[in-house]
């Protein structure tokens, strides 16, 4: 069983919400990323997304754009990230699902089949491709499935008629975008969550997780009630930007606060 499915099943049994955190791999270097992943898991992260840096992260706001640029500048590559994942898996991270968040071109360039094979070998459980909307997923869904890597679907408040189909055809979990625009931290949300999640939950066949713009424990708590999981990205990356190689401690504290907030 894919670790993502197992994790959500375990959480459901414990009546807990999943905390999903994100860091850009290789920002500021791979060693820091490794430490961050371990610390986040230690402090309560249930799933971890590793951002694969891309020159042109179209769906990202300034915080993750900058992290991506720093990682590329520092020499991050996809093979290097697979190495990191391999190290994490052999270093004790056996249960926590690890996902890659990355742009399609990097997958195509690496070779679709070769890519998913590498994912499976290293221990990647799912892939989030922000520029691969439902409808274009056939591009890589066959290869993903062949290697038992979940291709995570995203659904947005503007998905409207598409919500039904996306929800019904998702695997792992359904990434529910909590606000329009790009990733980043936000003071508030304009989305009508009751309506949005009402529609999603009517059709969802997998757990849901909400993300995009969640930056405080309070926001995490408020949104957790709509979904089975909460995703926090830019707020973590922002701490890495500020603390660099010494980010593990502040990130750990932040993750702990987030987990506490959604546990209550």
């Amino acid at each position: 069983m894919n670790r993502i499915d197992a994790t959500f099943e375990g959480l459901r049994h414990r009546r807990e919400k999943a905390l999903i955190t994100f860091v850009t791999a290789g920002d500021p270097d791979m060693a820091t990323t490794e430490a961050l992943v371990l610390e986040m898991i230690a402090q309560g992260a249930d799933l971890v997304e590793l951002g694969v840096p891309f020159s042109d992260p179209m769906a990202e706001g300034p915080i993750i754009q900058a992290a991506s640029a720093r990682a590329l500048e520092a020499g991050a590559t996809l093979p290097g990230i697979f190495d990191l994942v391999t190290r994490l898996r052999s270093g004790g991270v056996t249960e926590t699902p690890l996902l890659l968040m990355m742009y399609l071109n990097c997958i195509l360039h690496y070779g679709k089949d070769r890519f998913f094979e590498a994912c499976a070998r290293a221990g990647i459980d799912g892939v989030i491709v922000p520029d691969l909307p439902y409808g274009e997923q056939v591009e890589i869904s066959g290869e993903a499935r062949a290697h038992r890597v979940h291709l995570i679907s995203l659904v947005a408040p503007t998905s409207r008629d598409r919500i039904h189909a996306i929800a019904q055809n998702s695997e792992g979990f359904l990434y529910c975008v909590s606000s329009l625009g790009v990733t980043g931290t936000r003071a508030g949300f304009a989305t009508d969550f009751d309506a949005f999640f009402g529609e999603i939950q009517r059709h969802a066949t997998v757990p849901t997780a909400v993300g995009f713009g969640i930056s405080t424990p309070e926001q995490a708590k408020a949104l957790a009630k709509y979904a089975e999981g909460v995703i926090v990205g830019s707020a973590v990356v922002d701490l890495v930007a500020k603390h660099g190689t010494g980010a593990a401690a502040p990130v750990g504290a932040f993750v702990k606060a987030l987990k506490n907030a959604i546990r209550e």
């Binding site: 179209m58 769906a59 996809l78 742009y103 071109n105 360039h109 439902y134 591009e139 998905s159 790009v182």
Partner: protein
């Protein structure tokens, strides 16, 4: 074309889910309005009564004589209002936006050509407009920034990435993702996710349609060869489209080879690129070993784009059109050539097409006809050509 939005394997809609609804809405609106006689009449009125269409098909007699081969005609998009083919597209898109009830237009720009055109259309139709432009480009093209402001448009600097055109496109998509309900994104070439490549091509195909009609009168027949420069590919697609199903018409795109395709300093996408996905489309892109999009280079700001419209990638893949590289040196030489021989200073972009014509025309027979799409005028490029020639000019 295989399915809507696809050109062979190319095209598609590779965008964040947040944008999908906007694309669907756009496609529906375009399908509806583009078939309405009223929309078509209004657009025609704008093209003829404002942009100055039809643009002249000019028999370049001295050039023909000088090269001693095919009869050369220049499709004079440089005579359009604002000085290039870009106006065709923005008038179409702005009108569509207005029909869709959008209040606000956004656009990306590289050197500023599309930005100025977009700002012009916005001023004319009385709409709010914001143009995203890389900070590097803003610094290099201060005059165009000021021009957009004169036209009432807000210019927003984009400092991410290389601070150039591709980053401006990224930023325009990001902005659009946040406010697609009120805002219309006017993309500047036959690129991006479906339906953009189709829409822009449809608004530009008037170029080739006019060429066909004008040549029918002038010469009673089709051209044998049509040459256009290719940045994103809108003027080329506009010039080619009407001839795709006429197999006797050779279609040639001129790509910017910058310092040469044997260097890293070029923008020759078809010659040097690989299939990939970027800016919402599957097409050919210049990429590095890791699939990162490469910084590109050309003396011509309008050709300085790491990709190409998907329909071009398709035409290249099936061999229906050829795409040949032209270096800075060849383009500058042809810029000077056309000025001296015909008294026409072409855009440095268009000079790439002229350079290919100078190679191809002499190999053709005197009964054959070669049409160059002169996509724009070169006033904007005089300074950089002077600089290229080592002359220090200030204004």
């Amino acid at each position: 074309m295989t399915k809507p939005g696809r050109y062979g394997e190319f095209g598609g809609q590779y965008v964040p889910e947040t944008l999908m609804n906007a694309l669907i809405e756009l496609e529906a609106a375009y399908t509806k309005f583009s078939q309405e006689p009223e929309f078509r009449a209004e657009l025609k009125a704008l093209l003829e009564g404002y942009a100055g269409r039809p643009s002249m098909l000019y028999p370049a007699r001295k050039m023909t004589q000088d090269l001693g081969g095919a009869q050369i005609y220049l499709k004079r998009e440089d005579l359009n209002h604002t000085g290039s083919h870009k106006i065709n597209n923005v008038l179409g898109q702005a009108l569509l936006a207005k029909k869709m009830g959008k209040k606000r237009l956004i656009a990306e720009t590289g050197a500023g050509q599309h930005g100025v055109a977009a700002a012009t259309a916005a001023a004319l139709l009385g709409m709010e407009c914001e143009v995203f432009m890389g900070v590097e480009d803003m610094e290099r093209q201060q005059l165009n920034v000021y021009r957009m402001k004169l036209l009432g448009t807000k210019v927003t600097g984009v400092s991410s990435g290389t601070g150039t055109l591709k980053d401006a496109v990224n930023e325009a998509f990001r902005c659009w993702a946040g406010e697609a309900d009120t805002t219309f994104y006017m993309i500047g070439s036959v690129m991006g996710p479906h339906p953009f490549p189709m829409i822009v091509r449809d608004f530009q195909k008037v170029i080739g349609e006019e060429v066909r009609a004008q040549l029918a009168v002038e010469a009673g027949r089709l051209p044998d060869c049509v040459i256009a420069c290719v940045g994103g590919g809108s003027n080329a697609m506009g010039a080619f489209y009407d001839f795709i199903d006429s197999p006797g018409v050779r279609l040639v795109g001129a790509e910017a080879a910058g310092h040469g395709v044997d260097t890293r300093m070029n923008a020759a996408t078809v010659t040097m690129g690989e299939t990939g996905v970027f800016h919402g489309m599957k097409s050919l892109f210049l990429q590095d070993d890791g699939g990162q999009i490469m910084p590109v280079y050309s003396i011509s700001a309008g050709l300085d784009y790491p990709g190409i419209g998907p329909e071009h990638a398709y035409l290249a893949s099936i061999g229906r059109a050829e795409y040949l590289p032209v270096t800075d040196a060849e383009a500058v030489d042809s810029f000077e050539y056309l000025a001296k021989v015909e008294g026409i200073i072409p855009a440095i972009e268009s000079a790439h097409a002229v350079a290919l014509a100078r190679k191809i025309a002499p190999e053709m027979g005197p009964e054959e006809i070669l049409v160059i799409c002169l996509s724009g005028r070169g006033d904007k490029d005089v300074q950089s050509v002077a600089k290229y020639r080592g002359e220090n000019i200030h204004e």
